[in-house]
Amino acid sequence: MNNIYLYTLVGVGLFSLGLYALIVHAHLLRKILAINVMGSGVFLILVALANRTYGTAPDPVPHAMVITGIVVAISATALALALTLRVHTETGRVELPEESLE
């Protein structure tokens, strides 16, 4: 089972991609997608590493954590989308106002 490290590295890559996009993009919908990709990266690392029980079934504890995480992620996404839509109705914009540093 050498795919453990392959998938772990893919998880790391997804996390970094998501982090990068989260910082670069101002559009709120894109930020929501970016956070979801980061989350998927974390889940992937957890589950891939749960396979390090050579010969026996994988460790069920990370599996349970990830199932919980998926449901939390979707509810957080729904809330974030509702907030985005509210920002849009109030201000007509799809990004948050920038705070000026002066």
């Binding site: 997804l14 970094s16 910082i23 919908l29 504890v61 919980t68 729904a78 990004e95």
Partner: protein
């Protein structure tokens, strides 16, 4: 190398690279609709990845949520934003600031290499808690180890996770009423398809709930299917009666959490710890809690999709 190992290696490599590429395309696509469709495809491949990683319970959850909820949520939100053209705005700091780009690239590289290093230097053989889980599986009341962890050993997690669902719903409800929309007539096809699909969804949800005790499945997967059924109803614009939207809705949404806490407290009255099931009753108690949780999770997810507090009209 054996042919089977080789084939699996090719499959995994292709899957891994496609995942990364899809994520990159979805996050950098100038067209938001395209980004969302790519993200839906990404969810599909994640489910395949869980299959490859021996995690069928997660594959079921990802399939149910990815196919049934995420796409519908994102597409409905996009429909209401109607601002596709402003899609590639960058944050203020990024525009015309080469120094910031440099810093950001360095940060990303540092995060990636740091994480990769720490992950690759982990112990190669680490069973984690799986030994304890398997040793105590007989007293847990179920034979699927993932369900045992979720509902017995780490029942607190599940309890708090259901509270998170509830808090998210409260957050949405505090933002105002259900957005007004004028749904067109769904048409004959949907009027035939939806009444066929919904009973099947409910049936399969029941099957997954029952199977969860001894095989992959359980309350979250079953609840997600119920949520998808609710979303189908909402998508064709069928209205639930207003008498359902008041107290009955609130009772059903909180029922799962309330029963969970009630069982925990009742066990304390009999001299156990909070949520410490006696092993003779564990199986039945877990099933009872899971059944209530399935109903509540399903209705909460559908209510999240509704996007506002029913019965309250947004004035605008």
């Amino acid at each position: 190398m054996e042919a089977i190992t080789l084939l699996q290696l090719i499959f995994d490599t292709l899957l891994g690279f496609t995942l990364l590429w899809l994520a990159w395309q979805a996050l950098s696509s100038p067209d938001l609709f395209r980004a969302i469709v790519l993200f839906i495809a990404f969810g599909l491949l994640m489910a395949l990845t869980w299959v490859r990683l021996n995690a069928p319970d997660i594959a079921l959850a990802e399939a149910a949520i990815g196919a049934g909820l995420t796409g519908a949520l994102l597409l409905s939100a996009l429909a209401r934003l109607k601002a596709k053209n402003s899609a590639t705005i960058m944050t203020e700091q990024v525009k015309n600031k080469p120094l910031f780009w440099l810093l950001l690239t360095m940060l990303s590289l540092a995060v990636t290499s740091g994480l990769a290093f720490s992950v690759l230097t982990l112990q190669e053989n680490s069973p984690g808690l799986s030994i304890w889980v398997l040793e105590n599986i007989e007293t847990s009341g179920v034979s699927n180890p993932v369900t045992a962890v979720l509902l017995n050993y780490r029942g607190y997690d599940t309890l708090l996770e259901m509270s998170v669902l509830l808090v998210a719903l409260l957050g949405i409800w505090s933002l105002g009423g259900v957005p007004k929309r004028h749904d067109s007539f769904p048409g004959q096809i949907l009027n035939i398809l939806i009444p066929l699909l919904v009973p099947l969804l409910i049936m399969v949800a029941g099957y997954l709930l029952w199977a969860g005790a001894h095989a992959p499945g359980g309350a979250f997967q079953a609840g997600s299917l119920l949520g998808a059924a609710g979303i189908l109803f909402l998508l064709v614009g069928w209205q639930f009666g207003t008498q359902f939207m008041g107290l009955p809705l609130r009772i059903m949404i909180t029922f799962g959490l309330a029963l969970f806490i009630a069982v925990g407290v009742a066990l304390m009255l009999f001299g156990n710890q909070f949520l410490e099931y006696p092993s003779s009753l564990a199986g039945s108690l877990i099933f009872l809690i899971e059944a209530a949780a399935t109903l509540s999770i399903g209705i909460t997810l559908a209510a999240l999709f509704l996007g506002g507090r029913p019965g309250l009209r947004r004035h605008k």
